[in-house]
Symmetry: D2
Subunit: 349 residues, 4 copies
C-alpha cells in the first residue's frame, strides 16, 4: 500500500519514546502526526508535558479513544509499558488500525517463553500475529503487516551486531556473551532512586544480571539467524548519560577468521540498509556518534591471542532502539523509502 | 534574491560549529552542502573528522581555495576563529560569494572598540560593512547583505532576552547584570585543561570575569535597542554539559512593572519570529528543552521585593547561538521562509 | 565544655546530609558516631540504605527514640526536613541533648518572617533560642549553645562571600544580586522529574525565581553584618552535577574600590578561619576544587567599566553547606580545634 | 621495619595519581608527605598546580633530585608514565629509598612479555626485582620489599574479582572474558580529544580492543592464582564520568556451582582484607559506592541457563586502583595496620 499521507496517532505520547515519535513524525514528509494520546496526563497542554514542543505543537494530550483513532488515523504507534500495551493494541487492531507496538508484548513468538519472562499475556488471541520489526532482517515481513512488534533496544543492537557472524558461520553459536551498556533514558521517564542524578551521574553498574527480559528476545532472533536454538549470557549496565546503547559481544571464532571477513559479512548483509555503517578503519563505535539519529554503527575485531571475535554495536536507544525503528518499519509498511525522514546524522557533539 | 537551490561551502568545517552547519545543510530543502573546507585536516576523509557523518557523507575535507568556492558555490559559511576569519572572508567577498561569518570579526561596528578587545583587524576595508545577523531584530538588513556577521552565542540569548524590556521602556538601561552559563562545546573542539572531562564534569566555575569579549557586542546591540549607550556587567560560567546557554539577566524595573507586561512586550516584539517562545505559565527555560534546535525560550519574572525584573533565556549555543542562526540568516538573505529547515524541536531528553 | 569523646546520634541519617554526617563522624577523632536514626527505613541494615558503608558499619537504622538518644548520646545532629525537625529537636532539647539542627526551623530570628516563608512553626517555644551556626561569623555564640541552627547551603556561601565587603563598607548594601548555582544533591535524596538524570544531566535551569526560602536567611545575616536591613535579589539554578554550589554576587562599589582591597577585607575577616581560602592570583573558585571537603573558596573582582564588585564563592553543599559545617560547629561547641576532622582537601578530580 | 613516622616523597605529583597520593598522605597518621616533585611544573606553587590544596599546602613543586630525596625521605611514591619511571626508580633505589612505583615498569615478571607490549625496558638491572603490590594476594612479599610495583587499575579489580573463583576451582581457567569500564581520569591529566568533555560526556565506547597493555598483567596474576598459564579476552571501555572502574568478568562454571559458593570462596580469600566487601544480598557493585575510597566491592552471579559465573568488581581507579593501593602496600611494608589512613568510606553521593 502506498498513501500520499498516512495519518498517525501516538499512544503513550508522554514518555520518552512517545516524545521521540512526535519529533520524528513532525519532520516526516509522509507520515503525519495526528494525535498525541496519554492516559495520566490527558487534558494537559502538550507543551507542558513535552516542553521541547513549546510553540510548535498546540492543543492537549488526548485520552485514549480507539474509535476516534480509527476514525481519523491510518496507523498508531503504541509506546506503552508491556502488559498495558496488549489490550490497547487489540482495540486498535479490531478497528483496522495498523499498529506499531513498541512494547514487549508481541515480540516473542513462543507463548511459554513469554509467560515465563513476563507472566500472562494481555491479548492472547493476537499473540504470534505480529511481524517482528527489525527492518534490516525482516523487511519483507513488514510490507503487509497489520501489527508490527518493534524490537527492544538491547535486542536491536545485539542482533544487528552478531547476525552477520552467525549467518556467515564465522563464529560458534554456543557461548555468546553480550555485555551491553545503556544510557539512563532506557529506564523511562518515571523517576526512581536508580535514575536520580546524584546516584546515577558518577556511577556505573550492572543490573538484572542474568535476568533481563530482553534475553529471550535476543535468543529468539539469533537462533533464527543461526538456524538452531542458542543461548546467550546477557548483562546490561547503566551508563551515566541520557541516550545510547553500546553492546560488546564476544563469540568464539570458527576456524580461521579475520576482522576483515567479519566486516565483509556485515557489509554484505546490510548492503541495502541505509541506517547501518560498518567501520573498517580500526575505529569502534561511540554512542555519541549516533546520538539523536536512527543510525547503527558496527565494528568487528579479532583477538588472535584468544581466538575470539568481538563485535561492537552502537545505537541511540530512543531512536534506532525505539521510535526511529518504528518509523522505519512504517516506511516499509506504507511503501515509502525505508530511510524517509530518518536520514539526519547525529546531533554531534 | 530567490534561488531554487543555493550551493554552500562550509569553511572551517571541522570544528563543532562546522559540524552543525553540515548537519543543518544536509537536512535543508533549499541550501545545498557543496564543500566542507578545513585547514589542518584537509585531505582527510570527512567521516574520520566528523564521525557522525560516517556512511552519510563521502569524500574528503578540502583545503581552502576561494576560486574553487566562487566557481561552484553561491554562499559560504565561515566558522573560523576571530582574526583568522577576516582575510578568508575578504577573499570570498572579492569573488562575489555571499558570506555568513560566524567569527567575531565583523560583529562590532566601532573600530576602536574592536581593537580594544581584539587587537588589529585582519581586513580593515571590510570592517563595518556587515549586516548583523540577529534575525529577530535585524531581519530587513539581511535581505540584500553580501556579508552577514552572525552574532555570538552569549549576545544572541542576552540581547533577545533584554531587548523587549528596553524597547518597551520597562526597565532602566543602567545597571544591567547578565549572569550567563554555557555548556563546554562553547569552548570549541580543541582539548584543554578547562575542558578535560575529569576537571570539567563535576565542577562549575566562572571565567573571564569582567573581561569576556562578548561584552562589547552585547552592549552595542542593547544600546541600539535602548537608543542610548549603556553598559552591562557580564559574567560567563562553564556548565558541566555539552550544549546550551542560559542567561539570567537582572534589570531595575521602571515604575510599576509586572511579569505579564514583560511577557506581552516580548510576544509583541517576536510576533513574527518562528524560533522564539515566551513562557507565561510560571515556567522558566531549561537548556535541555532547546538542545539541538534553533529555538529560543524566554521567561520574565518580577521580584516585587526588590523591584527587579529577571529575564531568562535559553538557546543551544551551537544552533541558535551559531550554525542555526547562520542558516536562519541565509534563509532571509535568499528569500526563503525564515524557519526553513530549522523547525525541528529539541532532541529531548 | 571539653569532653574526651562526644557521643553523637544522627537523626535523619538516610538522606544525603545524614550520610555525610556519618562519613565525617566515622573519621573524627573526638566525635563518635553512636546511632543512625531514620524513620521510614528504621530496621533496615545500614549498608542497604547507605551503600558506601558496606563492610564498615554493621547494624540497622534505628527508629527515633529521644530517651534512648539522651541515655547514650551527648549530642544529636538532626538532618530532617523543615517542619518535621522542630518537634524532634524539642524532644531532644527537653532531655538535655545538645542539638545541631540542619533544617531551616531555627535559622530565622523573626517569627513573622519565618511564618511568611514557611508557615506555622513546629516548636514555637524554642523559636529564637538557637545560635546561628555560621562558624566564621558567629564562633563565640556557639561555645555554650544548646541548640545550633546550622545554616542553609546557599546562605553559607552567599554570606561568606559578601560579608567582608559589607563589613568593610566597600560596597553599597542596596541592590545586591546573588546568582547561585547548585548541584542536584541539594534537592535531596527523593527522586523527582527535576532530578531524573535524563531530564537533568544535559540541562541547566533556574528555579524558584524570586521565591526561594533561603532568601530571608541571606537577608537576615547580611543585614546583621551591614548593620541595617537590606534586601537581595536571589536566583538559584540547578547544575547537572551532584555536588557543589557556586554563588556569583554583584554589588555596587562604594567610591574607589579595588579587587585587592576586597581580598584584604576577606583575608582580615577570615584570618582565624581554617576552612576559608581567598584567591588573589586571578583565579576564581571552581566547585570541583572543594568537592567532598569543608572548604570555602572565595575570589573578588572589580569591573571598572561598571563600578561593580563581583564576589564569587564555592562550597560543597553537603559538607560546608551542611554536614561539615555542623561538625565544625560541634567542634567549637565542645572545645575542640575548629577544623578537627575536617582538614581533608577535596577529592580532586 | 616499624618507624614512628615515615617521610615520603611523591614523584610525579602533578598528575591525578600524584594528587591522590598527596591527599592520602596528608591524612595519614604515620606516613608524612615530605616532598611534591614534578618535572614540567617544577618551581610553580603547589596550589596553582593542585587547586584542591589551596590554603592547605604551601611551597612549590620541586624538581627531581634523588640525593635530596634520599637525604630527607625514607620512601618515594613514583607516579610517572611507564618508561619514564624505570630510571627514576633506579636512581632512588641506588640511594636506598624504598620505592612504590605506580607505573607499569616493574609489574611484569617476564622480560619478553614486557618488551612485546611496552618495548625496551628503562632499567633492565632492576627488572624482576619488585614485589607485586596487590596487597590482598601478596601481603607477605611486601614486608621487606625495597621496590613495590603497584598494580594497574584494571588488573586490580579484575584479579580480585576472579582470583577466588580460580583458586577454589569453581570456574574453568580457559575462556575468561573481562569487560571493563573506566572513568575518564584513568586516561590521566593530559587533555586529548577522547577526554574533551563535549566528545566524552554523552558518549560511551570501547578502546584498544584486544590490545590494552593491562592484558598481560591480568594474565600473569590470574595464571599465578590458577597455577597454570591462561589467557583472557579483555576489553576496556570509557565511561562518561571521572572516577571508577567496573569489571564484569565471565567464566564457565566447573560442574555444579552456585553464586553462594562463589561468595563463600571470596569471603574466605579476603577474610583478613579490610578493603574488600563481598555482597550476598543480590546487589551488584556500583562505582559510586566506592568513589574516593580504597574499597573494593565484589558480587558473584550464576547464570544457570548458560552455566556461566559472572563476577563483578568495582573500585575507584585513582584510589584502590593507584594511590590508595600504594599507601596500603606502604602500610604493610612499614609495619603499620594495613588499612591505616585508608578507612574512609566513599564520598557518597
Amino acid at each position: 500500500m502506498t498513501a500520499s499521507e498516512v495519518r498517525c496517532a501516538v499512544v503513550g505520547a508522554t514518555g520518552y519514546t512517545g516524545a521521540e515519535l512526535a519529533r520524528l513524525l513532525l519532520a516526516h514528509p509522509r507520515l503525519a502526526l495526528a494525535q498525541l494520546v496519554g492516559h495520566t496526563k490527558a487534558g494537559r497542554p502538550v507543551d507542558e508535558v513535552l516542553p521541547s514542543l513549546a510553540g510548535l505543537v498546540a492543543g492537549e494530550i488526548l485520552d485514549f479513544d480507539p474509535d476516534a483513532i480509527a476514525a481519523s488515523c491510518d496507523a498508531a504507534f503504541c509506546a506503552l509499558p508491556h502488559g498495558a500495551s496488549a489490550p490497547t493494541v487489540a482495540a486498535l487492531r479490531e478497528r483496522g488500525v495498523v499498529v506499531f507496538d513498541l512494547s514487549a508484548d508481541f515480540r516473542l513468538t513462543d507463548a511459554a517463553t513469554y509467560e515465563a519472562w513476563y507472566g500472562a499475556h494481555g491479548a492472547p488471541a493476537l499473540f504470534g500475529k505480529a511481524a517482528y520489526g527489525l527492518v534490516e532482517l525482516h523487511r519483507e515481513d513488514l510490507r503487509d503487516a497489520g501489527l508490527v512488534a518493534v524490537p527492544g533496544c538491547y535486542p536491536t543492537v545485539s542482533v544487528l551486531a552478531l547476525a552477520p557472524l552467525l549467518r556467515a558461520g564465522l563464529v560458534e553459536p554456543d557461548g555468546l556473551v553480550i555485555d551491553a551498556k545503556s544510557g539512563v533514558s532506557g529506564a523511562g521517564r518515571s523517576p526512581s532512586p536508580a535514575t536520580h542524578l546524584p546516584e546515577a551521574a558518577e556511577g556505573f553498574r550492572a543490573y538484572k544480571v542474568g535476568a533481563h527480559r530482553h534475553t529471550p528476545e535476543i535468543e529468539q532472533e539469533l537462533s533464527r539467524v543461526a538456524g538452531a536454538p542458542l543461548r546467550v549470557t546477557f548483562t546490561p549496565h547503566l551508563v551515566p548519560m541520557t541516550r545510547g546503547i553500546l553492546a560488546t559481544a564476544y563469540a568464539q571464532a570458527k576456524g580461521e577468521v579475520t576482522a576483515d571477513a567479519c566486516v565483509e559479512a556485515a557489509r554484505g548483509l546490510y548492503a541495502g540498509s541505509p541506517s547501518v555503517h560498518v567501520f573498517s578503519d580500526g575505529r569502534s563505535p561511540d554512542t555519541l556518534w549516533v546520538r539523536g539519529s536512527n543510525r547503527v554503527h558496527l565494528s568487528y575485531h579479532h583477538d588472535a591471542r584468544t581466538g575470539r571475535v568481538i563485535a561492537i554495536g552502537a545505537i541511540d536507544n530512543l531512536v534506532k532502539g525505539a521510535a526511529g525503528q518504528a518509523v522505519q518499519a512504517a516506511n516499509v509498511r506504507f511503501g515509502f523509502e525505508e530511510g524517509l525522514g530518518l536520514g539526519a546524522p547525529a546531533t554531534w557533539p
